[in-house]
Symmetry: C2
Subunit: 259 residues, 2 copies
């Protein structure tokens, strides 16, 4: 494997190019891509050309670069989240239908909740085309629901390294939140993006009572009725877990342990 003078391999550089697009930015000029990938312009240009030949990137005459339709296809036809999303979607539609709320599905990846599916309440302008967002565990009900049903060793490692960039939440606060969520079987938290909304999430548990996913809703504060929302979410989560248990791929979502 050829290494550059700085010691990184071609594979490293390919990954840096693909990862250079910030969330929500689908087009970059080549020079900006090179900057973000920390590559010399000539190297970036050569890599982009090679990746574009295979359709993993697409280039336009003006020098702009975007991720390619072929890459999107390769990843989505064999999506690592497919089994989970297929198991969850009918139950998410039920929640959307019965509660008329935004519904989301997340997995734990590192110390963050990665949202792998989303359904918007009917009539909402937002729609589910945009997925793959992340929220830190301590600022999302999904993250808390996921973390509160992890093995003790994972929780300990998480709390050990935790510092709140906003300086508001202490590890002790967080430990109490996790204990409460584990005890109640759900997590709730004020909305991060919109403080007038409230997130409520329940874990989807495997046979060992570990959370393989979190199913959640985001609800306007005035509509929070825990006695209605939580049992509906928990019922749906059990349905998802049962369908996942029938498939052989459920083990792939014990993600935090394999990181």
């Amino acid at each position: 494997m050829a290494n550059s003078v700085s010691g990184d391999s071609v594979v490293d550089r390919v990954v840096r190019v693909i990862a250079a697009f910030p969330e929500g930015v689908s087009v970059l000029q080549l020079s900006e891509l090179a900057d973000r990938a920390q590559l010399p312009l000539t190297t970036a240009h050569r890599l982009v050309r090679q990746l574009a030949q295979h359709g993993l990137l697409e280039t336009s005459a003006g020098g702009s670069v975007r991720l390619g339709l072929r890459l999107w296809e390769l990843v989505n036809r064999n999506s690592p989240t497919l089994a989970l999303r297929q198991a969850a979607m009918p139950f998410m539609e039920d929640i959307q239908h019965v509660l008329n709320q935004n519904v989301n599905l997340a997995v734990l990846d590192g110390w963050e909740a990665l949202f792998v599916e989303r359904l918007s309440r009917r009539g909402s302008v937002a729609n589910r085309a945009q997925i793959a967002g992340r929220l830190a565990v301590h600022v999302s009900s999904a993250g808390l629901a996921l973390m509160s049903f992890q093995p003790r060793s994972v929780q300990a490692a998480y709390l050990e390294q935790f510092t709140d960039p906003a300086g508001k939440v202490t590890p002790e606060d967080l430990r109490a939140l996790l204990t409460e969520a584990a005890h109640q079987g759900y997590a709730q938290l004020a909305g991060v993006i919109d403080p007038d909304t409230w997130g409520i999430a329940v874990p989807v548990l495997d046979g060992k009572k570990r959370a393989v996913a979190a199913l959640g809703v985001v609800v306007p504060l005035r509509e929070v009725r825990l006695q209605a929302l939580v049992p509906a979410l928990q019922t749906a989560a059990r349905g998802i877990a049962r369908r996942l248990g029938d498939s052989s791929t459920s083990a792939s979502f014990h993600s935090s342990e394999s990181l």
Copy 2:
């Protein structure tokens, strides 16, 4: 760039590894992955290890390999289909709601319709978690709707190379189908997967009357009511086109011309 003895670059080999997973197969044993990627086992092993370090692949103790959650995230948070899908989703929900039919959205990629979004009729067991399928132009109403609104040069190139593997459709048949679809403003065709269903698709047109996408439904034969379906689809397609026109990224879906 380091080339192997066979002349392919590291980038080529990375692409072969990522592309080695056949549609619907999310897990491969390393040896099978090496076979499919046409790489020596040691090369495959090294590449997989490197890609796994970056989260683009995930490996398990048993030697199985799958696409990584990180790759899924990178591609989906900046999906090349995002602008189109965001523009289309509310209208697809309308069709699903009003007609209670499976709705799909496709773009032309090479000589195939690539399905980038799907909504299942309510109560249907199938769900939309699985996307990124392909159908040849001549066997899908979406493909015909897309091709019938391409520039003449693209249509000519398509018909020039066309041969039907099944030996049923001649280039002349196909030319007639395309002319008819262009004249009528929609395409219809018996279902490929289920012959008791019928596909009906209309083009989403840009300012030059070129199809940037196709919006379609798959309908049980007994429920085909063209006088109801086609105007609803055409109305929705106009709405999608208008929303796409408002965004600056619509030009990216003139895919067949940029290939």
